[in-house]
Symmetry: C2
Subunit: 145 residues, 2 copies
């Protein structure tokens, strides 16, 4: 996975007339090895440790670049931060988000996806992408009141 992602980025950059840089590779490496749904600042802090020279703006720029290259998905939940997650291929999933502890659970549901298409069809609408987020309390947070 790891080496392949770096190659994927290189190919995208070359194809766009952009340049490969050590910063971009380093940020990508840390991004992939870190957990999912990271904000720019969270990633910046993780990148800083092994690569202290890297700047804040470069992390922001690289995350946007990864999204454009198809290597990351950009998510805006209701916490005011843009979050990114590594995207293996063309997989898709939606989210359960705990409003108390911030836990994020991922799920896929074919039937919901199909019904969304039905809704779109009925409204002469062509869906490009969608967002389904369920906010509430995770199992743990229900127990602890």
């Amino acid at each position: 996975m790891r080496k392949n992602a770096v190659e994927q980025l290189s190919e995208y950059l070359a194809g766009q007339g952009l340049r490969s840089t050590t910063q971009r590779d380093q940020i990508l490496q840390v991004f992939i090895s870190a957990g999912r749904h990271l904000s720019a600042e969270e990633l910046y802090l993780r990148v800083k440790k092994p690569h202290p020279g890297i700047g804040y703006a470069t992390v922001y720029r690289t995350l946007k670049l990864l999204a454009e290259a198809g290597l990351a998905d950009e998510r805006r939940f209701e916490d005011g931060f843009t979050r990114y997650e590594y995207k293996a291929s063309d997989d898709h999933h939606d989210h359960l988000i705990c409003t108390k502890c911030g836990a994020i659970i991922e799920f896929e549901n074919e039937r919901i996806e199909a019904l969304q298409q039905d809704v779109a069809r009925k409204n002469h609408f062509l869906v490009q992408n969608h967002k389904l987020e369920l906010y509430g309390l995770c199992g743990n947070c229900q127990k602890n009141r």
Copy 2:
């Protein structure tokens, strides 16, 4: 509808130890008579015409108040603005949003709602609210390329 909403607001304010003001009533009136899914600035501009003295901050504050009072729903689509819509009662709907012209189509789908509950149950999750947005092209925008 109109007079009732003003009364509803008054009751909420009284119950919270807050005060009724002419600004709040004026903003609510314009809010209800304007279209749905308005941003604070859009509402501010509409309010300015009949009530030039009203300030920007008051419109922001009143919209948040209306949401707390249950008179408005707060929506954050992907355009960077918080939008509000008048909420008659406890109705609920989701949205189709055209990425080209910005048109917003509302829909309800019982089966999707039910399946969401299934997903939540399977994950020991208690849903408080949810967001389902389908982004793409409306009928018109598909025709015009």
